[in-house]
Amino acid sequence: MLAFILRRLAQSIAVLLTVGLVSFFLFRYIGDPINSLVGQDTPAAEREALKEKLGLNDPAPVQFLHFIENAARGRFGLSYRTSEPVSRMILERLPATLELSFCAAVFALAVGIPMGVYTGLYPRRWSSRLFQAVSLIGISLPTFLIGILLILVFAVMLHWLPSFGRGQTSTFGWWTTNFTSWKGLEALILPSITLGLFQLTLIMRLVRSEMLEVMRTDYIKFARARGLSNRAINFGHALKNTLVPVITVTGLQLGSLIAFALVTETVFAWPGVGQLFIQSVQFADIPVMAAYLMLIGLLFVIINLIVDLLYFVVDPRLRGTARVGGH
């Protein structure tokens, strides 16, 4: 098991370095680092001096090393657009995105898993078919369309919920949160549903198809042949075997929520890192793009690791216990 952890760690670092490489490439060769620091009419000699000072004339591998060093310390230079330090911009907006993703994840799991189990156990009921149909719509509609629809109905027509912005937040040190007030929570509702809906349908479909597969296995048949009750079979044997493979896929999907948030944030004018990224793409603000890339890479790698470890905990076959022989 230790070997496994070490191997995964090594893989994660490899992935991070690759992402870092792409980031570095973006940062150094597509953007112009000098431009982010000085104005248009700075004389060439000064630029050269600055270049030297910043180490921009060093050989590429050395620069890459510096880049990684700086990245590890969270230093990504200044934004082309606002001339603010990129790391500060990101940190400012990170809580908004994280809270939104968290709520969306909870929504997707809390509704998706039970719906998936239900439609998997009773696939022929009309309610199951209805859920299936709704899920098809959920997968087909682009997230931004769902967001617009929700805004149209609940904000513009019914005036029940706010249509944009983060609403009321409180600050705790560096973190700003919506969770401390009703108004704050209200602002979270529509965006969370929008962000979580796609994942919800994915989870529901996955759980359903796993459930259908499991119900066809020999051990379920044998369990029935032993006269076990439906409850024991459905919620004991079947559920556990269904959820185990679902865990990995779900975990990874939820990780991607953080990245997918960028669309929802744009629709709802939610001030998160996703919205920041979109703005940076529109303005070709390379330092922000590079920093966002590394951030997402780091988050994904961490989530992947956690999911892999979870797998260990849940599936006894992976724990590498020795097989005892005999006939």
């Binding site: 098809l136 509609l141 805004i151 669309v263 793409v281 390379i286 793009m289 997402i296």
Partner: protein, 307 residues
Amino acid sequence: MADGTSWLHRAADSDIWWSFKSSSLTVLAAVVTVFIVLAAFLSPVLAPHTPFDPSTLSLSDGLKPPAWMADGDWSFVLGTDDQGRDVLSSIMYGTRLSLVVGFASVVVSLVIGIALGLVSGYVGGVTDSIIMRIADVQLTFPAILVALLIDGVVRGLISSQRHDEIAPFVIIGAIGLSFWVQYARTVRGSVMVEKNKEYVQAARVIGLSPVLIMVRHVLPNVTGPVLVIATINLALAIISEATLSFLGVGLPSTQPSLGTLIRIGNELLQSGEWWITVFPGITLAALVLAVNLLGDWLRDALNPKLR
């Protein structure tokens, strides 16, 4: 198999056609898709107006609601936007663009994916490792992010104006590049299986190009799975393009796709002019839904386990 019955007869008799006919939902989806595609591609002929030719626009036509409402005008059946552009015609032209970009990016993904898969599987070694590592890293990121990144890079390299001029190509490339991985993996797997078979080695001994032989044997094997991936891919590509355009980094308002139209309309949503967003939205939703239904049916029909 040459027994005199034409392939048409055989097709009509086949399992696939039977399962198609028996699912009325799928037939409906097919009809909707055909309708939308035809309307889109015949837009120069069928559209009542030319909304993207500025000379035909007049601001006094602006912000007309749909024809059945008060203030509506039957020459602008679905209403107009703030520039006086007819919504119905915009939708038709926009759908055409959405479809073209969607299909083209699937083709791009296919070509890149199959090519890289063949190379990776056949050559093996370091090349294979590198390609697969890139694939793994790319897979950790959602496709939309990859597409955005590529678009951002292009914008960093050329001026914004130039970018807008060649926007469809940039978008096709961006989306195409974000979806190649699945194809590559499937093809690579198949190649690796075939590579070790004796007929390949035999071919080498005879002096025939084993690559050609392998392609002849590998490609038929992967057609099924690749088709399945492509159907999922098509819906995703259309959604991706719409999303990019909605976010303002896709097709510009001078050559709008459905996503762009929705974005334009979104800005007017708060003031109550809903038709500029809603109708393109409905069209987009119907299109993607139909494509997904067809894809679902195709996947079930091709799945040997369900026969």
